[in-house]
Symmetry: C2
Subunit: 338 residues, 2 copies
DNA sequence: TTGCCTGCCGAAAAGCTTTTCGTCAAGCGT
DNA sequence: ACGCTTGACGAAAAGCTTTTCGGCAGGCAA
């Protein structure tokens, strides 16, 4: 805890141990060798005085903060919670603390993040954009030490790590088709968002797979959802159920919306999967525990987290690797809802 | 982003604007008045040079980091996610960034947090202990700027903010009794934890309310759960269902476990609430969307968040108020599961 | 006109750690 | 015995901002 006035400094513990601050620093950091005897004296002095390292001073000197920033749309979406958790544990391996910034998926906030206004004290940034897309390169001003989560939206030399959105979406819709469904809807479209966004990619793959199987995609079967929250899923589903000809299967673009959809279905007494099949995307922990348990896409969240912080670590270490683009493995996990 | 070598400093922008670093500082912080004309020159220089404030240097000088730490057991429990989100938005009002530290509910980690080893760069700490309890006062060495979430476990001069655990648990069990249930079980006991912990308080209130209504609490009806995760709830429920005489109602000590219990029930084809009623605790967002929607306790999470950061802000501001203890309002929200 | 106050800003110190430079002694090889 | 390397540590600089101390000019009152 950064104290105000009378905080005890390295010079103080040095004085008590009969050495200078430099030796104290060496003892604490363990970089240089110091005689065991003086080492013990220093350690004892540290203990006696209750000394605590001033990280601000260290950061000022070393130019490293020991903190990275994770910028995501929103902690109301289970996937991002899962992602944040995993990134935190990965970061631990690099002795990093992570601070989470919510952008609310709003363009101005995303720009603010990139411009550095909201991540001052940070060694690097892991950033999942939502509103930003191709053409916004100008906003990443001097942002080395950045890894983008999602499709390659910037032409600049930036690392990207992303899940296989189109392959996964294809997997999901093909599965529904193979199970005999013909009136298949999707929840989660968002026309106001870049073509590289998850929403667009998944919708495109959905449409393509339908077409490839000779099925059409009626406009009223793709329902848009701004936020991908629980209530969006529920609202989307009730809208679909109000249609003269409701769908017999629904592909929700994330698990959170699928949970909402399941709720709407149950509230109306519609049986899942008999009357309407539901498939999600993310394979969040809760997916295993809904009624019925949710069939969904496992997008390789663990890999995303590991790759993202490893890539960032490489950038921070200054290894001049060319900008990398990694794609994680996805798979379908079949449970009971479809 | 803290750059390494050639970063541009206040002196640099000052040089370009024809002033000294001091004036630049004044312009940027807005504390002292500066002539509009020079103000503009400075701002333009900032823009031209792409200057970014070095927060480490500022922190070193001011002794404030602009960051607070929130230490909670675990981000796998919905309540703590909810709490973290709310605390983040409250902290924003004070221009604070919050870093989340997970203790895993493990004693050694909680001690490490208190000792400051894992929250170096922080103006204050909001801490929800789990393993620590009365008698551990010695671990809060020089911890002003601390607010504890939970019952008063330390005798020291520390602010506490807590929910009305016993009142809420009484509410929940009384409701089950009033609905005609007689074989009522509880999931979430934890004998290895302090008597001031949520687990103990809720269990005590549960037992008392049962007794007050002339009901007994068979040992096999209180199932212990170490982690309060989804799987603990499910495991606890299946154990209860395996009993020769299963309960007709279950009080889960948090919503996350209740979700697990709901799953176990559904997997066995047990009807809720007809065969077994389920009641939770926390009123998390998901509770509204389960099937059936979860009857649960609203513990005043919003109040907890607001009070905690306001109290912390007062401590940091050095206002010498006596240690405060605040209790939030709770209520029962009835849905369909009980 | 003199004295005082206010607004604006330069010079310099303070905040604490890490790192560079240098010193001193001891050890080793020849 | 001499030169060289290595180990241990002191002195001091560097890293960048905020704040204190003044100084200077202009305005206002006496």
């Amino acid at each position: 805890m950064a104290r105000k006035g009378g905080s005890v400094t390295m010079a103080d513990v040095g004085a008590r141990a009969g050495v200078t601050a430099r030796t104290v620093s060496n003892v604490l950091s363990g970089h240089t060798s110091v005689r065991p005897e003086t080492r013990d004296r220093v350690l004892r002095a540290v203990d006696d005085l209750g000394y605590r390292l001033n990280t601000s001073a260290r950061s000022l000197r070393t130019g490293r903060t020991g903190t990275i920033t994770l910028a995501i749309p929103d902690l109301m979406i289970d996937y991002f919670i899962d992602l944040a958790r995993r990134i935190m544990t990965e970061a631990e391996r690099h002795d990093w603390t992570v601070v989470i910034q919510q952008t609310g998926a709003r363009r101005e906030n995303e720009i603010a993040i990139l411009s550095g206004a909201r991540r001052q004290h940070s060694d690097g940034l892991i950033f999942q954009p939502h509103a930003l897309g191709p053409g916004d390169e100008r906003h990443l001003t001097g942002n080395d030490r950045l890894v983008i989560l999602g499709e390659r939206i910037f032409r600049g030399p930036v690392d990207h790590v992303t899940m296989a959105n189109t392959e996964a979406a294809r997997l999901a819709t093909q599965y529904l088709i193979d199970r005999g469904h013909r009136r298949i809807a999707a929840i989660g479209a968002n026309p106001r968002v870049a073509t590289t966004s998850a929403a667009s990619l998944r919708l495109d793959a959905f449409r393509d797979t339908l077409a490839k199987n000779g099925l059409s995609m009626p406009a009223e079967y793709v329902v848009t959802a701004e936020e991908w929250h629980l209530r969006d899923g529920a609202a989307g589903m009730t809208r679909l159920l109000g249609l003269p000809q409701p769908p017999d299967a629904v592909f929700c673009f994330n698990d959170t919306m699928a949970f909402g959809a399941l709720h709407a279905l149950a509230a109306r007494g519609v049986r899942v999967p008999d009357d309407v099949a539901v498939i999600g995307f993310d394979n969040v922990a809760m997916a295993e525990f809904t009624t019925p348990p949710l069939t969904t896409i496992e997008p390789g969240t663990a890999q995303v987290a590991k790759q993202a912080v490893d890539l960032l670590a490489a950038r921070v270490a200054g290894r001049g690797a060319p900008p990398t683009e990694v794609l994680t493995d996805c798979s379908l996990v079949v449970r009971k809802s479809a």
